[in-house]
Symmetry: C2
Subunit: 332 residues, 2 copies
């Protein structure tokens, strides 16, 4: 008997697509972060649903307020990656019946604070009983079809960039899930983005505004995984010449004798945007992101050769198509 | 310690609303079947999410194809009740990892066939691992704000009507959940709408087109529950002079010595539309529904007195605010 745990996430999605796809659906869009529905002329409705499941998406020690907020952040992050402003949210919730009222209030506060943080209204939802806490956060937005930044638009020669450094969340998760240690002060810094992740919405919107990005995705499944998705959809490869790593992650790797490059590449639950930028727009892109209080890091460039190559001082190799496998198995 | 199972569904929703509501949100709309987001002029985007949870929404014996289809029908039914054509669907799924591939295929087939049945495209979704099967079906549509049929528009004097007979699904669920019996032939007829419910989309769209309905809801939580919702939101009462009951349900009630009126009133999982119709449009409404192959049943009328009164031959009493409590506890 073939079980879905043996299929893997991509096979499951492929199977669904096979049955769902009607003749006039754009398969390329179905593989992207958001769904588009034509409105009129070039205007399109942007829809996204992202399901948070407590047994797989909630790290140990995360409180209910943080869980509610994280459910929102995941959906907002996909809008950020596409450069589209989210206008409204719907929240479908499955609640275990033995949840306490005070935890329910914390959950509601987290959802509400997440929505406020990104200036988007919760306009509806659905409440159900379930065996574990499940939150499906549905986002709605509008954009001009020509402005949306898909996964498939990277061209050889484009600059590969990210809106954040890597490694902190991987380090935090290693502490929570594998019992690795760090001094108190460092520990706090490593756990903060695990419990309070940030969607890089202002960065994504700023880059869309200056029409600098050709492809984009968030790094929620890890940097390596994101690069493979951009590669698969854009039919390009990448050469990574610089890996922006948080100094706290570096310290943690040293203390625990971990390879920092692996920590940065094969992480997950980080919400940096990973983008390709038109070469001639690089400076404009840098300025646009800085203007909204963000940062844009140079990683390397897109190549005609479809491999993803690490070309760092002292480490040259092909990147492996792996995500954070301990925390959230890549199977589903 | 206060647990949410003691709170009840309405209290949970109230709590969420308290935390979610921003100053400029229309509370009346948040209590309706769908969410609306202003588009331009009077055009509005219509969004709805409905979560199917296998431990509470799937009756014994329902196969995976039927489960997938039912997830779609629940969402479509809310569009039907509002008289709005659904244009696209997104499906967020939580899958238990020990589900077999063949069941996954059946599920995909059910989702796909449900979408085809109502002529709506699946444009996106999200796949996750979860402890039990959870399907959140998100619907998207467009309409003119003036045309949408809300729960709160009934006026005293309006005719109370339904697009179907009552009692069959209650009878079917009594067999599946309480072990009640019926001869094979009857049993099949009673179980069919449990496993293969129908959303009354063509009826809802036809009624919206002739602008006949003033308020509407589906009877998925039972007829009595639906009437209490229409009453609460419209600030009217109802007098029920006629209860359209399926002859199979009548037969089942006789065989099992059940009260047929209770069976019809306090059921659930039935997707009839329960509507109020402008008196002067009643004939037009009847014809419009017949024209699309449906039926419209006279139930009674909306009253200024806010009570919901049963006034049938041999049975005059106030209706109780109950739903189908055994199958899907009203707590969540």
């Amino acid at each position: 008997l073939s079980l879905i745990k043996d299929l893997g996430e991509r096979e499951i999605i492929k199977l669904f697509l096979k049955y769902f796809v009607s003749s006039n659906l754009d398969l390329k869009l179905l593989n992207d972060d958001v769904a588009l529905v034509d409105l009129f002329n070039d205007e399109t409705v942007v829809l996204k649903c992202d399901m948070l499941v407590s047994s797989t998406d909630v790290p140990p020690g995360m409180n209910f307020k943080q869980i509610g907020r994280k459910a929102i952040v995941s959906t907002i992050s996909d809008f950020a990656a596409k450069g589209v402003k989210p206008l409204a949210l719907l929240i479908s919730i499955g609640l275990p019946k033995n949840m306490s009222k005070s935890n329910l209030i914390q959950l509601a506060l987290g959802l509400s604070s997440g929505a406020k943080e990104y200036n988007v209204k919760i306009v509806g939802g659905d409440t159900n009983e379930a065996k574990e806490l499940v939150i499906d956060c549905v986002g709605y937005g509008l954009c001009n079809k020509k402005d949306i930044i898909l996964r498939g638009g990277a061209k050889p020669g484009d600059i590969l960039a990210s809106t954040g450094e890597f490694g902190i969340v991987s380090a935090g998760l290693k502490m929570l899930l594998e019992g690795l240690k760090a001094p108190k002060n460092l520990k706090q810094k490593l756990l903060k983005p695990v419990y309070m992740p940030k969607a890089h919405l202002k960065e994504g919107l700023a880059l869309a505004k200056v029409k600098a990005a050709t492809a984009s995705i968030d790094s929620s499944d890890g940097l390596a995984w994101s690069l493979f998705e951009l590669s698969r959809m854009s039919k390009v490869g990448f050469i990574i010449k610089n890996l922006p790593i948080a100094k706290e992650a570096l310290k943690f790797a040293e203390l625990n004798k971990l390879n920092i490059v692996d920590l940065a590449l094969y992480g997950g639950e980080e919400f940096n945007l990973v983008l390709t930028i038109k070469r001639e727009k690089w400076y404009k892109a840098l300025k646009a992101v800085e203007k909204v209080g963000g940062k844009l890091y140079f990683l390397g460039e897109a190549t005609k050769n479809k491999k993803i190559i690490l070309n760092l001082k002292g480490r040259k190799e092909e990147v492996k198509p792996l995500g954070w496998e301990h925390f959230k198995e890549k199977l589903i």
